[in-house]
């Protein structure tokens, strides 16, 4: 099946494909992206409670956006999976809730810029994709469950509390705990890796 073929490609391959689509509308590269991402976006939408047909349509729409916006993809700023996730997230908010997802405008003169960071931070950013995955796998079940509910059930904290029969404060503090742990884990790993490479 095409999906299995696509899965032999690495994260770096996906970056090159996305850049190729952006630079010259490369159809072969786009096919690779489609085979990799469209089935996952479909699962994402189904998990959010949509019919398979709606999920298929939204996966298609996501890929149209990927094609149209590929030239704006900046590999220094985001991994392809994160970039596609944002597109799919915004489309499904628009489709399900008829709401938009307000976003900041990077070119807004009112935007307060971040301080310049040393160049090696970007390298760490890339490593952290895998580290993040690993750190998430190591979270306790109850904390991972909350992350899943946030990302895949479209549940506000109040709704999560109700579903799990927990006080709202517990949901919030558990989420905070999980996020703090992930951040610390990644920071520690980064120190460890940069220590090794010296």
């Amino acid at each position: 099946m095409a999906n299995d073929v696509a899965d032999v490609f690495s994260a770096d391959d996906l970056v090159h494909c996305l850049l190729a689509v952006g630079a010259r509308q490369d159809r072969l590269a786009f096919r690779v992206l489609f085979d990799h991402f469209a089935p996952r976006v479909k699962t994402y939408i189904v998990q959010l409670g949509c019919s398979h047909q709606q999920a298929e349509e939204l996966a298609q729409e996501t890929m149209v956006k990927v094609w149209n916006k590929a030239s704006q993809f900046d590999s220094e700023k985001a991994a392809p999976s994160t970039w596609v996730f944002r597109i799919a997230r915004n489309l499904r908010i628009d489709a399900f809730r008829r709401e938009s997802h307000p976003e900041l405008d990077q070119n807004d003169p009112s935007l307060l810029p971040a301080e310049e960071r040393p160049a090696d931070i970007t390298v760490e950013q890339k490593q952290s994709e895998q580290q993040l995955r690993k750190a998430m796998d190591e979270l306790p079940q109850e904390q991972m469950e909350l992350l899943h509910l946030s990302f895949f059930q479209d549940m506000a904290h109040g709704a999560i509390a109700e579903k799990l029969g927990l006080p709202l404060g517990t949901v919030k503090s558990r989420l905070r705990l999980a996020l703090g742990k992930l951040r610390k884990k990644i920071d520690d790993d980064q120190m460890y890796t940069s220590g090794l490479s010296e």
Partner: protein, 218 residues
């Protein structure tokens, strides 16, 4: 400018995952424009989203999905090449996305009276749960005492205000939940304009304020 009061992590997560109602997302995104630290955190949370997406079991699309997609793409009207307009440096007080929601910067605003010198502008969003509005409190004056049925976030845009939690200046976010009853006091010297979002109607203490509450829509 230093931001002392940030948005709690779990609300940033709700924004990044897309589970926050539009009004909450509006205040988060507007704070992000003024706060590189929270911006960085939202990127982290979005990376989690990407990573979770990556780990989902793929569900095959229909046989001809790719061909249909390419037909759709080829049938699109010619994409206008997105050449970014050079940024015109017009300094503005209200950052995006807030500026677009209220239709311009401060000079474009049409304030309505809320009582005791306090002005407001309700902001239209499509979510049925949370309410967003701009508030303008005269320098040195208190915001009417209120408690909350739900959570409230307040983002300072001009001036400052003080509560028992400290002083809040441009870019700072005050977080109040159901248990907090507070009387913010605007700082001297400059009117305090802030963006406030509540997920339930405020409960005002004084009878007068209670009586007008249904009419002014806050």
């Amino acid at each position: 400018m230093n931001i002392d009061h940030h948005i709690p992590d779990e609300i940033l997560l709700a924004y990044a995952s897309g589970s926050a109602p539009e009004a909450w997302s509006l205040i988060v995104a507007t704070h992000l424009a003024l706060c590189p630290q929270c911006r960085e955190r939202v990127s982290e949370h979005e990376r989690m989203g990407g990573s979770l997406l990556e780990s989902l079991p793929p569900e095959a699309l229909t046989e001809d999905a790719f061909d249909l997609l390419m037909k759709k793409i080829d049938g699109q009207p010619e994409q206008e090449v997105t050449v970014k307009e050079p940024v015109v440096w017009v300094p503005s007080v209200l950052p995006e996305p807030l500026r677009s929601y209220v239709g311009g910067d401060l000079h474009a605003l049409k304030w309505r009276r809320l009582g005791k010198g306090v002005l407001h502008i309700p902001i239209e969003t499509k979510d049925g749960q949370a309410q967003a509005r701009l508030l303008k409190v005269p320098a040195g004056k208190p915001v009417p005492t209120h408690g909350h049925n739900g959570d409230e976030l307040t983002l300072v845009l001009t001036g400052s205000f003080k509560t028992h939690q400290g002083e809040f200046r441009r870019g700072d976010i005050e977080t109040a939940d159901g248990d907090v009853e507070h009387t913010p006091l605007a700082g001297e010297g400059e009117d305090c304009i802030c963006l406030a979002v509540t997920d339930a109607p405020l409960r005002f203490k004084s009878l007068g304020a209670k009586l007008v509450q249904p009419f002014i829509g806050i």
